[in-house]
């Protein structure tokens, strides 16, 4: 097993300490940080994502793998910033104001990160002002919004309107998801896409950035 395969394997198993050690070992061998990230961490999370999509593993297992990936990323991040390595895209994500449910959003954030996106997770109960602030400040490619309640879902429409009023709607793709959200609701509020589950949200994000 190569060092990259070992990192990917330990990510899948959710062994944070081993991932951190192997990442350090790879760096000590002079392997560039970007290569360690893509061939080790991202490769491991892609397998996790695929297994999750195919119902082979469960949500808590995905999150334990994400934790292991983060242990490696924490070591690589300063080096990636130093070398000005660009992520696949930048995503600002959060559960909308009034809604405290965040598990679905968290899984999407983890899988996006695992697919090589830079993810800025604003948490739950996020007001318009905060979304706007981070979309502008981070020059986000994608804004992801989640809601679990029919009452809070309506805030997504307000958020799309807020982007228009700020004159930045064309600068950012808007994707939405959550139990009550549907494809037709996404079309109705003029979002760029809807994902019924976390794995589809990653595919959707990749597709939107390729457009």
């Amino acid at each position: 097993m190569t060092l990259f395969e070992q990192i990917a394997d330990e990510v899948q198993k959710g062994h944070s300490d081993s991932v951190a050690e192997l990442v350090k070992e790879a760096l000590s061998q002079g392997i560039p940080a970007e290569e360690v990230m893509n061939k080790g961490l991202v490769s491991g999370m892609e397998i996790v994502s695929e297994k999750f999509k195919n119902n082979e593993i469960f949500i808590p297992e995905v999150l334990i793998s994400a934790r292991a990936m983060n242990a490696g990323l924490a070591i690589l991040k300063p080096l990636l910033v130093e070398s000005n390595i660009q992520p696949k895209g930048k995503v600002v994500i959060g559960t909308v104001k009034g809604d405290l449910h965040d598990i679905g959003k968290n899984i999407v954030a983890m899988l996006l990160q695992g697919a090589g996106f830079d993810v800025i997770d604003l948490g739950a109960d996020v007001p318009k002002e905060k979304f706007l602030e981070f979309v502008k400040k981070e020059k986000a490619d994608i804004l992801g919004m989640s809601a679990l309640l029919t009452t809070t879902m309506l805030y997504m429409k307000e958020m799309v309107e807020a982007l228009k009023n700020e004159g930045i709607r064309q600068d950012v793709k808007v994707i939405i998801g959550g139990a009550p959200v549907t494809e037709s609701y996404a079309a109705q509020i003029e979002a760029d896409g809807y994902a019924p589950d976390a794995a589809s949200a990653v595919d959707l994000s990749k597709r939107l950035l390729e457009e």
Binding site: N55, I59, I64, R67, N70, G98, L100, I103, L149, T151
Partner: protein, 319 residues
């Protein structure tokens, strides 16, 4: 079963994960097809049954199944919500609750902890769990030690009234000079596939807290007896069917194939594995992160969770 009749299923297993798997299998295979208020129009009707589940060893290992709709840190926070009232401060004022569906306030209408520990009636606030402990420590064999959640004034107008209805406990002599604490929980309605497991982890943790309080009060050893979980409607929502059935054409496994592809040990975790994740899951959740994140949490609740954290950091404490 005649058309129109709801099946009644009885499941008895040693541990929570064993009971959970069997319940999913039995409701899937034997449940009636019934439409629920939460089904989308395009969803098939839910699978539904009245189910009694007996868990003979609530803290028997492995105690945790790997299939549930949250992370381990999130589960730890939910346990704190039920046992210590971590999110009682997210509940909206009574005047907003009474507006029912007209209310624009998206805060919660109840928490289980709020109803069990601070049930509001007229101008009184009643700690029903405190009553259960007092009652059973005085008269262990009493049949009156119960705590309800339903509020007939506040709950009917809301979209999301409490599923748990009642806890009932009884203390029996163990024949060795000590006691056994038995707990029954009664549920109006229950999402089996995405809520049952987390509910039971929280309620059995509360069960242990009550048993500890009873041991303190009686000065005798109190061990945990069986936990019985009774749901009028235990269901698998139609919207979950794709997850349960999988899609062989796309290579997506059914839930049952996933279970069969692994040993029981590979689809569960024991408490020792879980503990560090409960403390801090490395993804912003868990007791430590919760205390950092939730600045508005009342001080008394914060202290209770800090104490819980101290207990979890002890080697022999079982979550």
């Amino acid at each position: 079963m005649e058309p129109g009749e709801i099946p009644v299923l009885i499941i008895s297993e040693d541990t929570i994960p064993r009971a959970y798997e069997r319940a999913i299998k039995e409701v899937w295979e034997k449940g009636a097809s019934i439409k629920t208020e939460y089904d989308h129009p395009e969803d098939p009707p839910s699978k539904d049954a009245t189910v009694v589940i007996i868990v003979r060893q609530p803290f028997g290992q492995p105690r945790f199944h790997r299939s549930f709709a949250d992370g381990l840190g999130g589960l730890a926070e939910y346990v704190m919500e039920v046992v210590h009232g971590a999110h009682d401060y997210w509940v909206k004022p009574v005047e907003e609750i009474l507006k029912g569906k007209e209310s624009k306030d998206t805060r919660w209408t109840y928490t289980y902890h709020g109803r069990l520990f601070e049930y509001r009636i007229e101008d009184k606030v009643i700690n029903q769990i405190g009553y259960m402990i007092d009652k059973l420590s005085q008269t262990g064999y009493s049949r009156r030690a119960q705590a309800i959640t339903w509020n007939p004034k506040l709950d009917p107008p809301t979209d999301d009234p409490p599923c748990l209805q009642r806890l009932w406990g009884r203390l029996c002599e163990d024949g060795k000079g000590g006691y056994v604490f038995n707990l029954n929980s009664h549920w109006r309605s229950r999402d089996l596939f995405k809520a049952w497991f987390e509910n039971v982890i929280a309620l059995t943790t509360l069960m242990r807290k009550i048993a500890e309080a009873l041991a303190d009060k009686t000065g005798k050893n109190v061990r945990l007896g069986r936990y019985v979980d009774i749901s009028d409607s235990l269901h698998i929502y139609g919207s979950y069917f794709k997850e349960i059935e999988g899609d062989p054409k796309k290579g997506i496994r059914s839930f049952f194939e996933t279970l069969e592809s692994r040993s029981f040990e590979e689809r569960t975790w024991d408490s020792e594995f879980i503990k560090p994740h409960f403390i801090d899951d490395g993804l912003g959740k868990g007791l430590r992160r919760m205390l950092e994140r939730e600045k508005d949490m009342p001080q008394n609740v914060r202290r209770a969770i800090e104490e819980e954290l101290r207990l979890m950091e002890k080697k022999d404490y079982v979550v």
